[in-house]
Amino acid sequence: MTHSDEIPRPRGERDVRYFKGSTDGKRPLTKDPLEGAASAYDLVVIGSGLGGLTAANVLGRAGHGVALLEQHYNFGGLATWFRRKGGHTFDISLHGFPIGMKKTCRKYWTQEIADSIEQLDGVRFDNPQFSFETEFTRVDFTNKLVDVFGLERAKVEAFYDELRRMDFFDPTTETTGELLERCFPGRNDVHRLLMEPISYANGSTLDDPAISYGIVFSNFMSKGVYTFSGGTDTLIKKMKAELVANGVEIFNSVLVDKIVIEESPMGERRVAGVEALGRFIAAKAVVSNANVLTTVHKLVGAAHFDPDFVAKAGKVRLNTSSCQVYMGVRDGAELPWVTDLLFTSTRPTFTSESLCDFHGESRTFSFYYPKTRPQGRPRYSVVSSTNARWEDWAELDQAAYDAAKDKLAADTLACLEGYVPGVGGLIDHVEVATPRTFAFYTEHPTGTSFGTKFEGLEVSTQLPDEIGGLFHAGSVGIIMSGWLGAANYGAICANKVDAWLYSLAEVSA
């Protein structure tokens, strides 16, 4: 990813069109990416993140005519991977997800995909306040909070129960920070344990609503952390095969420029289709898996919405982005077992904002052992992730940008050395991704890794009330992000699209 997020430079071949992807960020288009596409579909899905893929699959399976258009050459959105010389494969967002993904994959994909989901063997925390291995289950966290942190068991149980009971439709105005302070006053160490994994998982902070925290916490910090055995490439390959089997027509390297809206004489707005690569494709419904704000402002355009709605969308805050360092162990060398997922920090106390610090002291390591890809040669890699702010990276000139990336790589390797002495000698590929990289690959504004803050969910769900047949399915509102959140939101959206297409068919019947 390193070399690819810079401004694409033409290489002399005037008439060759490039698109993003590949090791240098561009690949020549050798054929028309829309070759074979029909002029009209029941539904066009824009974007192939897990939200878009799942919506497309559920609706294709239900018998609708679906086209899926993705601007990148790979499908999967942030659920992605890349390969490098030396036989390296790096996964971007395979650190882990809740067990609920198994059921979601069984219902909206296949039993076979669900069966490849396996629990991680190890999750570890290491920071100045505490250091231990955890099963990442309600039972184990409760025991830790009692035995290590000295809390009363009843208080911990009450916390878990209260969060389980939180009602999305009846939210309070409490923030996550207030909730944690009310339940465990003055215990920054406890707040760290209960918040740090959630902040990493969805970019939320102590200032975000308690309700979004409660929902994610109850799903996530209760039954362990899971992964997809076979790697992200295998998952997406299986999903593609399933889409095709369900009659979904999938097209990569197709950037959608516009969602076309038509207005009836009565002033009713409805989607007519999309424009991509200079072509119009008609559709009765459009599902956008692009960021919700991109959908409103860029793909549709503010002029097609009520001014009140545009004002509401204008208040939606984007979530933060990420930095990653990918470290590949040379072929033939082995990493000793450390753990699968390590939350590490040298910061004495916890604030959720500090996880975004430019050159901060906190990061997560995902250690990938041969079990990640049991089908291939035994390989090892380590991916370090931090949350990050676009503003810290956006304005750097090339020299400063390269220097900042080098520093991040060096700091990360030094930190890793503390867990695997001599690791530097085992690694033969190091590469850095920044918010600029994520923006480049996904077209997401400010490289947002997890969509928007809570208020974005309402804007996303109200799109069809504004414009008939316009839907959004993708990371939004904190709770609908991550692999599980995005996939489930795709299925929720599919149900709405199905109802819409059904009602159109009834009218015309």
Partner: protein, 91 residues
């Protein structure tokens, strides 16, 4: 469909969505969620199956009517009266 067939239809849909659950002994009046593992996503799937199999639209504000089997019979009975029972899980 008779009210008895509505129950068969619903149990059949539940079976496709939650194959590990035992649907035969379900009580008519107890909440479905309290008897078997069904979450809000599963209810969406039930609604989608009803539309697909029987052309019945259940608007979001009526989802709560489907909380018990008896509720399903009361709410869906009239909508399904002139429909034939298909069994998805046995199809």
């Amino acid at each position: 469909m008779t009210p008895e067939e509505v129950v068969v239809a619903i149990k059949d849909i539940i079976q496709t969505i939650a194959p590990d659950e035992e649907v035969d002994g379900l009580d008519m009046n107890e909440r479905l969620r309290d008897q078997i593992e069904l979450d809000s996503m599963d209810f969406l799937d039930i609604v989608m199956e009803l539309r697909k199999l029987y052309g019945v639209q259940v608007p979001e504000e009526d989802y709560k009517e489907l909380g018990t089997l008896q509720g399903c019979v009361d709410y869906l009975g009239p909508k399904l009266a002139d429909k034939e029972l298909h069994c998805a899980s046995r199809a």
